[in-house]
Symmetry: C2
Subunit: 177 residues, 2 copies
């Protein structure tokens, strides 16, 4: 069986992408992994725009460099743009919560799934939550009533050095009863 911990330890934000282009098939397989993600009521409240043509990659990169800390985006070789879609809940649950109640959690899971599949294929990713939403919508013809949840930059990493993860200690975040 696949060792998940090994993968979880290895996947990290990639901020230095190599010049090597990324194969279309690998990008498609990342979306396939995201497609399989579990979601509340199996509503699958997501869609994905895979940006891989060099001109469009350059335009999307510009729209993700709203913050100066994101300048490394200029070297990303492709992007996944994750869009929130309407969630059709089962009637029993739709009586209790609104349609999008589970959606952001589901989208976060789908984004992680995509990044894990990328790592599994030897690709580096970086998730970006702050970007020029208006520009991304215009570039990719995403309707105004749909939220662009996240942009994920992808490419081969310059280095395969695995950094130590900076996280709160287990004792601080978990208790056993």
């Amino acid at each position: 069986m696949a060792d998940y911990m090994e993968l979880a330890l290895k996947r990290q934000s990639c901020r230095q992408f190599a010049e090597k282009p990324v194969e279309h098939e690998k990008l498609a397989k990342c979306v396939e992994a995201a497609r399989l993600t579990p979601s509340g009521c199996n509503a699958q409240p997501w869609s994905f725009v895979v940006v891989e043509s060099p001109d469009m990659v350059a335009e999307v990169a510009k729209a993700t460099m709203q913050l100066d800390i994101n300048q490394y985006m200029a070297k990303a070789k492709a992007f996944f743009v994750v869009v929130e879609e309407y969630a059709q809940l089962i009637p029993k649950i739709a009586k209790i919560v609104h349609s999008q109640y589970f959606a952001r959690g589901d989208l976060g899971a789908a984004a992680l799934s995509l990044c894990l599949e990328a790592e599994s294929q030897g690709l580096g990713t970086c998730m970006v939550g702050i970007f020029d939403r208006t520009k991304i919508r215009e570039l990719l013809n995403i309707p105004k009533d749909k939220d662009v949840f996240i942009v994920i930059a992808v490419g081969y990493a310059e280095s395969d050095k695995v950094r130590k993860k900076d996280r709160k200690p287990l004792e601080e975040i978990a208790r056993f009863v």
Copy 2:
């Protein structure tokens, strides 16, 4: 390298738990995997209550059976209760969005990470989003100002049969530009 797709295809909601108890060490490793999950600004807006003592497991099970479709919870051998915590964003980003802006996506990713580690260790899980929040808070001493994001039931699955996943086709949810 671990094959993520293999794991993604294998992990599925478990609704029939075997009588076999679950080892404490395996539960702790699931939380360790969740701890490593990436989050917006690395804010880690989560905490976990691992419910493993039989009396408390029985009480939590009752609080998750609000819907008749969740009666299988009675046979879960342990629970993870995932709580939303305050997210400390970096100053540059805190100027743009409120503290909890990324939190639900981060929590969804952490919940998936936990379930994937469980699967990797041979354990079945089921995520439940509708439950008696007031009761869960009372049982586990969770303050009223903190949202209980999700409850995850865990145990050994009765059967290792992998079901075909019911998902929208790739063409419907993805486009390549």
